[in-house]
Amino acid sequence: MAASLTGLLKPWTPRVLLVRWSRYNPYYLEPEPRKEVYHIPETELTPEQKEERELKSVRPIKAATNSVTSSVFNDPVLSKFVNMMMKDGDKIIAKGIITQTLENMKRKQVEKYHKAPEGKKAEIECNPYAIFHQALENCKPVIGLASIQKGGKFYQVPIPLTDNRRRFLAMKWMITECRDNKHRRTLMYEKLSQELLAAFSKEGNVVKRKHELHKMAESNRAYAHYRWW
């Protein structure tokens, strides 16, 4: 009994330091990975920022996860795509596939660029990041379907989708399309680069799937009233 009482009198430090899980004590603050924030000189800080800095010198800060970088080449959408591609926690392989995909896309486009006549050069997009973002935009559905039960039956009701859900659907369709519907012997980066380039020019199976979803939603317009939110 004496042992437990003396234990309670100590100042509070956690026995097990949480570094990998997301359930931190709310006392902890988020880390700031961007370099620009630390380069602002003392004089130019607003009162809020000054207050924040005071707070950071006192409070503990959560450990930054491995995916957070201060690099200028960091892309949150791409990181999300890598995480969705990852199997069994093997991020190295997933990141490797994505870098190979970007390289492959860039090679194809740069080759086309160098062989194209002068007039056509400006139309060819060589930036793999721009192609990736545009292709993903072209694959995002505008409206989705939800299964709502009314009077014993389930109806497919058209509903608006949030931005995160749209992005998730576009990435999911892209990955499943490349994993399932392509030739067995082609490597993933080759399949992905072909599909992304097709989606960039609004062709290919993924945009077809998006169009089919839109048509279904359009045909089920009558049930739109079943949505109550």
């Binding site: 690099s71 200028v72 080449f73 870098t99 190979q100 970007l102 390289e103 860039k106 090679r107 740069v110 080759e111 660029y113 160098h114 062989k115 060589c126 930036n127 793999p128 990041y129 721009a130």
Partner: protein, 339 residues
């Protein structure tokens, strides 16, 4: 290898810091350090059917041109070759450096120089290809305890034929070679016939390689039809290490037991005609990119529209590239590939 130009070239049309118009390796000097010169497309397939690193070959295909940077180690090698005394025993040079520092590219630059000067070039693209991952190992017909590698030997002979077309008819054999009971190559036949026979008769191709090496060794220094012979071996430490090959009873094969390796070692031993003693070699260190070379490489990639990420074209991005790659040429190349 790029030579950095301290004095800018004053040609009005094609003015650039990182490119030079001097496409002949013989005329390049310290002035051109850090600049890229273009290998003329007509030369490309004859001089380099093999020997270039695979990523560089991809780069050539993408950019539609083959540009090599003029760098210090290659220039040093070329100047040695220009000033060496060829009546003395042959000199051997060794390019050494960390992984990815540009040894193979320096070697290829020197090989380009040698072929523009009209030398006969014996370029073995990678000695490691001969001591590992060989699917077929035949016991040698010529020597009981040795092993032949028909695929590698015939591939190499085919590439050798492409590089040295014009020498094949000029060099005559000085010895009669018997391959089987019915086939033999007589004295005085041109070397081309020997090479063709090696390419078509895959089984005896390793012995053909041995014969070719022996003939070239005998005739290289000769005064009548005298030609200069350059032997370039990439990954030369593979000839003296261990092999990953196994005999049928699963015991490991030593490199001496491979015909190709045995003959190549004799070649490097340089007991060529007229040259008796063994020489120590001249070491040539290959370092990572200097600041100016890095600048050149960066500008070249920008020019070829290879660096597409908007941030990579800023100062910050450039500093990050320097930090991530530590100015290592191959690491930089791999980084810029997806940026």
């Amino acid at each position: 290898q790029q030579q950095e130009a301290i004095g800018m070239e004053t040609r009005p049309e094609t003015f650039s810091i990182f490119r030079t118009q001097e496409n002949d390796p013989a005329c390049q000097s310290e002035q051109h350090l850090g600049q890229y010169y273009t290998v003329p497309p007509s030369h490309f397939h004859t001089v380099f059917p093999h020997g270039l690193p695979p990523r560089y070959q991809q780069q050539v295909k993408t950019f539609n041109e083959g540009c090599v940077m003029v760098r210090q180690p290659a220039l040093e090698l070329i100047s040695h070759l220009k000033r060496a005394d060829y009546s003395k025993p042959t000199l051997r040079y060794l390019l050494y450096g960390v992984k990815g520092s540009g040894k193979t590219m320096s070697l290829c630059h020197t090989v380009h120089y040698c072929s523009t000067q009209g030398w006969l070039v014996l370029h073995i693209p990678d000695a490691h290809l001969w001591v590992k991952n060989c699917k077929e190992l035949l016991p040698s017909s010529y020597h009981a305890s040795r092993f032949d590698q028909p695929i590698q030997a015939s591939n190499w002979l085919r590439n050798f034929r492409t590089t040295n077309e014009h020498f094949l008819s000029k060099i005559k054999l000085r010895q009669r070679y018997v391959w089987t009971k019915r086939e033999s190559t007589e004295e005085g036949r041109p070397l081309g016939e020997l090479v063709d026979m090696g390419v078509s008769r895959v089984k005896s191709s390793s012995d053909v390689v041995g014969a070719v090496l022996k003939e070239l060794r005998l005739q290289a220094g000769g005064t009548e039809g005298g030609f200069r012979l350059a032997v370039a071996v990439d990954g030369v430490n593979g000839l003296w290490g261990r092999t990953t090959l196994k005999k049928e009873d699963k015991s490991p094969v030593a490199p001496e037991e491979l015909t190709l390796v045995h003959n190549l070692r004799k070649m490097i031993n340089n007991d060529w005609e007229g040259f008796d003693s063994m020489d120590p070699f001249v070491p040539v260190p290959v370092s990572l990119y200097s600041e100016k070379e890095f600048e050149s490489c960066y500008l070249y990639y920008l020019d070829r529209h290879w660096l597409q990420h908007p941030h990579s074209q800023t100062e910050e991005g450039k500093k990050e590239l320097i930090f991530l790659s530590n100015r290592n040429p191959s690491v930089l190349e791999r980084l810029c590939a997806f940026l």
